[in-house]
């Protein structure tokens, strides 16, 4: 057996059939599946049983503990050369495993193979994400370690279902359970430090983005920010004492995260959530490593004060649109 597919599942009866079917339709057959059920209360089990997928092992957590924790537990029994993590709501094109295993077999120094991923959202047109956007594959499929690290520092273009990893990555690292929204980014960065990354521009994975309800997305916005801040601190410790994989790695990471927080603040202003935007702008200003970003944060802040005036409120949407386009 060459590939173990790990699937953390929690109340995903509505999605599981699609993801399990995409496994059964793989042209590459040398795989097995561990499903880790994280305390589901819906009829996930029936859906899994109905799928009739061979070589499937179902594990149960006695309580709901989180997806990263579930994957970390499943990793204990992996004895194949490669590992893929497929979430219950994501799915593959039939040639995904064939493509990524072939790339990895050809390139023993590579730790990851990554394809392009289609990001599917109920109310937005599909977008395509992947490392090929920074590493055009005409240069060959093997993106060297230092280049991959540089591409992954400012933002995370890799979606989880688009990845096949060499198992040695997970012998060294577990998914960081204190980073529910950023632990995969941290994992890909660590992988890129360990070795090169195989890149394909083919869209072979599908990533389901959910329409979040207003309140949960509000809470999540600031918790995502704290995940990102925490990730900076984790890597600052890991890379202390001259162990930075590329020059000024923490600076580049911090700049990327500042941009992400600023962009989120822009979206919030457009959506009329001035209080939420203000919090984000404060965090951006607190960590901004460059003068450009500090100024943007400051301008945004004063902009919000202006928008709070009654006359200006009607102008807020066109102004912020303009602002977002300018930067």
């Amino acid at each position: 057996m060459s590939v173990t597919i790990l699937m953390p599942a929690y109340n995903g009866a509505a999605f599981l059939a699609r993801s399990l079917k995409s496994i059964s339709e793989q042209t590459y057959r040398d795989w097995r599946v561990f499903v880790g059920d994280d305390g589901s209360t819906d009829d996930s089990h029936a859906v899994i049983a109905r799928s009739g997928l061979p070589r499937l092992t179902l594990r149960h957590n006695a309580r709901n503990i989180g997806w990263a924790q579930t994957v970390n537990l499943l990793l204990a029994d992996v004895d194949t050369e490669y590992v893929a993590v497929l979430h219950q709501d994501d799915w593959w094109e039939p040639s995904f495993l064939a493509t990524v295993t072939a790339m990895m077999d050809r390139s023993p120094a590579s730790v990851l193979a990554v394809t392009a991923a289609r990001v599917v959202h109920p109310s937005r047109p599909d977008a395509v994400w992947g490392l090929h956007q920074g590493w055009p594959t005409e240069q060959g499929s093997t993106c060297p370690s230092s280049v991959a690290v540089s591409l992954l520092l400012p933002a995370d273009p890799i979606r989880c279902p688009a990845v096949l990893a060499r198992t040695e990555l997970y012998r060294k690292y577990s998914f960081d359970e204190s980073l529910p929204y950023a632990c995969d980014w941290l994992m890909w960065l660590r992988a890129a430090v360990m070795g090169s990354v195989e890149v394909s521009a083919e869209v072979l994975a599908n990533y389901q983005l959910h329409e979040a309800s207003q309140t949960t997305s509000l809470t999540r916005a600031s918790l995502t920010t704290i995940d990102l801040l925490r990730m900076i601190e984790v890597l600052r410790t890991e890379w202390a004492g001259g162990r930075e994989p590329v020059k000024d790695a923490i600076g580049k990471l911090t700049a990327g995260i500042t941009d992400e927080i600023l962009a989120d603040a822009g979206l919030k202003i457009e959506g009329g959530d001035l209080a939420g935007a203000e919090v984000q702008l404060r965090f951006a200003r607190a960590i901004a490593p460059s003068i450009r970003q500090s100024v943007l944060g400051l301008a945004g802040h004063h902009g919000i004060s202006l928008l709070r005036l009654p006359l200006m409120a009607s102008l807020s949407t066109p102004i912020t649109r303009l602002g977002r386009r300018l930067w």
Binding site: N64, I65, Q69, N72, A76, S222, V279, R282
Partner: protein, 337 residues
């Protein structure tokens, strides 16, 4: 069925594990069962548990080391008794702990938590005692009412997990410790629970809480992770306590103020130690999260001070100034809030 389940999460805790387990066996209240949750230890932990030879003790093993919060959350599923306690492998109890706390909960059917005083043990030596009794003098009665508990714990976590016996109902209402809070998950648990339920309080010292250089508290402090957990507790509760959900008037603002205050204190400590960049970052985060103009000004002043005195010719004034600031700040804080 026994009355109490004691859950002992353990990861490579062999050095202290025997003392912990023996302190449970030595309880004057004997109607308990004990489950060790071994997080894939690689030391002698398992043979120590086996050597205890007590039928009330059993072990569950994780196949791979997971976070300690996840280990505790999985352990909670092992408890089917009316009462549950969580005792970490490096902590231990005095013999009367269970007898006292069980009696307190039996006498107060509406309380979900009973908590005693805990002696902090540093480098093997007993230091101060901590507990909810510091904020709720037992002369006011043993029952600290819902809402008031949350208010008293807002400033800081006074309750090490070793000082707590909980009714199983607590973990039905709040089924898990927050996975993203490896350092402060118990604080959030007591704050959430204390918002809606009464706590029983005693000032008897019945638990021992070990602080040593190797435990996670110390290393996390060194790399800012503690500050990140503090920030997260603040953001979670500000959202949960908004509007009419506040457990006491002004709760959302109070937790934000406490968080900013905590970060500023950490900044001053770092400054004293000469860790200039970290001190500055913490002061800026305090500014970012401060709820009032007064606190934001204080944070700004702090950062300005760090920039002025952190480096260069004025650097030698750094230590005395930071020390002074730490002493003066609480007074300023009160006047500004």
């Amino acid at each position: 069925m026994s009355q109490v389940t004691v859950l002992v999460p353990n990861y490579n805790g062999a050095v202290y594990l025997r003392e912990c387990l023996e302190s449970i066996v030595a309880q004057t209240f004997a109607d308990w069962e004990l489950v060790v949750g071994d997080n894939a230890s690689t030391d002698a932990s398992l043979s120590i548990v086996a050597s205890m030879a007590d039928r009330r003790i059993r072990t569950v093993r994780r196949p791979r080391t997971i976070g300690w919060v996840a280990n505790v959350n999985l352990l909670l599923a092992e408890a089917s008794t009316p009462y549950v306690a969580i005792l970490h492998a490096d902590d231990w109890w005095q013999p009367a702990f269970l007898e006292t706390t069980v009696a307190m909960l039996q006498a107060a059917p509406r309380s979900l938590v009973a908590t005693c005083a805990g002696r902090v043990v540093r480098a093997g030596r007993a230091a101060e005692s901590v507990g909810l009794f510091q904020a709720w003098p037992v002369s006011l009665g043993s029952t600290c009412p819902a809402g008031e508990v949350a208010r008293l714990l807002t400033r800081r976590n006074l309750m090490p997990s070793a000082t707590v016996l909980a009714r199983a109902e607590l973990y039905r209402r709040f089924p898990r410790y927050e996975p993203a809070l490896p350092l402060l998950g118990d604080w959030l648990m007591w704050l959430r629970a204390g918002a809606t339920t009464d706590f029983e309080v005693t000032d008897s010292v019945l638990a021992n809480y070990r602080m040593h250089a190797a435990n996670q508290s110390a290393s996390a402090e060194a790399n800012n992770l503690w500050a990140m957990d503090v920030l997260r507790v603040g953001r979670i509760l500000q959202a949960e306590w908004a509007g009419t959900a506040a457990p006491y008037p002004g709760a959302a603002k109070a937790i934000a103020a406490a968080i900013a205050n905590d970060l500023l204190e950490r900044a001053a400590l770092r400054m004293e130690r000469g860790e200039y960049e970290t001190a500055r970052l913490l002061a800026r985060l305090a500014w970012a999260t401060a709820p009032t103009a007064g606190q934001r000004m204080l944070a700004r002043l702090g950062e300005l001070g760090i920039r002025l005195f952190g480096r260069g010719p004025l650097g030698r004034f750094r230590q005395p100034l930071a020390g002074m600031a730490r002493r003066v700040k609480p007074a300023m804080q009160r006047s500004l809030m």
